[in-house]
Amino acid sequence: MTALADRLRPLVAVVFLLALWQAASLLLQEDYLPPATAVLADAGQLLASGALIPDILSSLGRLAWGFAFGIVLGIPLGLVSGRSERINDFVAPLLALFYPVPKAALMPIFLLWFGAGDISKIVIIIMSVSLPLVYHSYQGAKSVDAKLLWSAAAMGTGRLRQFWKIILPASLPEVLLGTRVAIVIGVIAMVSSEMIVRQNGVGYYIFNTLDMAEYQTTYAVIVVVAAMGYALDWLFERVRLRLTFWAPERRAPLVEPA
């Protein structure tokens, strides 16, 4: 299999899905399923005219903040848990308890606590992305080859320096897998929080058009959101592969609960 063909496959998959959609729409002739071509034109129009841009930016802004906090909190916590059983005994049961909670469902409660601004939604995103970040960082730090640490210690490397020089780089492939999962989950948290408390953002826009019965636009925004999810994952994959080209390739899990 050539590299080019491999790269084109997802594109072929997209075209295949769109063709299916088009066929179904032509067959049904229903307002509820506008043809893919019309929806794509609409999506292009929404982006070109700038009508959707403010909402895309407010969504992405919250995602970026939530993600930044999630990384700063989650990765160190996971790495430390991976190296200390005592800390892990404290952290792991809390994560296990928190794992099945639908985080975005806390929106109405956070609205009472933090008010109607961006903070509630950002907190939801932080909580959602933190779980995979902590978990994968933990796995990475836990499986660092002990011989590396022994050699470093024997040469007089301090604990903090060991962390930077050995544990972090050695765990990086696993940490970045967690980051990939976190991006996918972050987008889910972003959209669902906006759908539950409808103020602005792409999730709001989707339901706004649905309520106004502009079904073709509803589909167009859904296409844009789906493309955002795919594009963010694709972009991060470039970064991840570049940063960990030296590590044996692992299949990313990609799907974990948000």
């Binding site: 909670v101 469902a105 959209v191 079904y215 999810g229 799907v255 609960p257 948000a258």
Partner: protein, 251 residues
């Protein structure tokens, strides 16, 4: 697991809940905004005598289990089938590369338009969200089957279809069960969110109704219910996995 080990592994949630309780009881946190955990648990227990709660619970469970069952059956079937021959690499893998990172909840408005505002749209949302981990697990599990097992089975006279039942499926089972565990939690979360996003009935809608009436304890009860449900189902499956797969080393 010894008792001291069990305690070491569970003291932090207990500490968290106790601290929360103390903060609310002492008045440091206003109980109007943050109910005490004991009050939430009490209300949860009482809710099981409340016909309204039971009806919403039943609506949610119906959607959850229908979607989940479809996801498990279809995911396993499609995954195992695609692992035979070249369709997996040619079609399934690129499709999954595109579909997996898409936030499925964003498709929900389209599902509402296509399948109506009642059960079906929510069941299908659960299906498309929960099928992916099962399908991927079944596909990669079935592909990883040791070929020598298949050769032996074939030479011993097992038919190709029999091979799938007797060799491929059991060999892929550990992976599939792990996929199902992920699917369970995804399904619990997404069915709940679908009921919050487009209210009608169900546990998610119960949160919205409580929020409109500003009843904070009642906002927590459905969230705690679905979380406990996800937690129990996840752990039940882990237990089943260990039982069924005694011959298999833990991964």
């Amino acid at each position: 697991m010894s008792l001291s080990r069990l305690l070491a592994r569970s003291y932090s949630p207990i500490l968290l809940l106790l601290g929360w309780e103390v903060l609310v009881r002492s008045g440091a946190m206003p109980s109007v905004l943050v109910p005490a955990p004991s009050n939430v648990i009490l209300r949860l227990v009482q809710s099981f005598g409340d016909p309204v709660f039971l009806f919403d619970l039943q609506q949610t469970l119906f959607r959850l289990f229908s979607g989940l069952a479809l996801a498990i059956v279809l995911g396993t079937a499609i995954g195992v089938a695609s692992a035979q021959g070249g369709i997996g690499e040619q079609i399934l893998e690129p499709l999954m590369r595109v579909l997996a990172p898409i936030p499925k909840i964003a498709l929900f408005p389209a599902l509402l338009l296509l399948f109506g505002f009642d059960h079906l749209s929510r069941i299908i949302l659960v299906l498309i969200d929960a099928i992916i981990p099962v399908l991927l697990a079944a596909y990669y599990g079935a592909r990883a089957v040791d070929e020598r097992l298949l050769w032996s089975a074939r030479s011993a006279g097992t038919s190709p279809a029999g091979c799938i039942w007797r060799v491929v499926l059991p060999a892929a089972l550990p992976g599939i069960l792990t996929g199902v565990r992920i699917a369970i939690v995804i399904a619990c979360i997404v069915v709940f969110l679908s009921e919050m996003v487009q209210p009608g009935d169900g546990l998610g809608d119960l949160v919205i109704r409580a929020a409109r009436a500003f009843r904070t304890i009642d906002m927590f009860v459905p969230i705690v219910t679905i979380s406990i449900l996800g937690f129990l189902m996840d752990h039940a499956l882990a237990l089943i996995r260990r039982r069924v797969l005694v011959w298999m080393p833990e991964s």
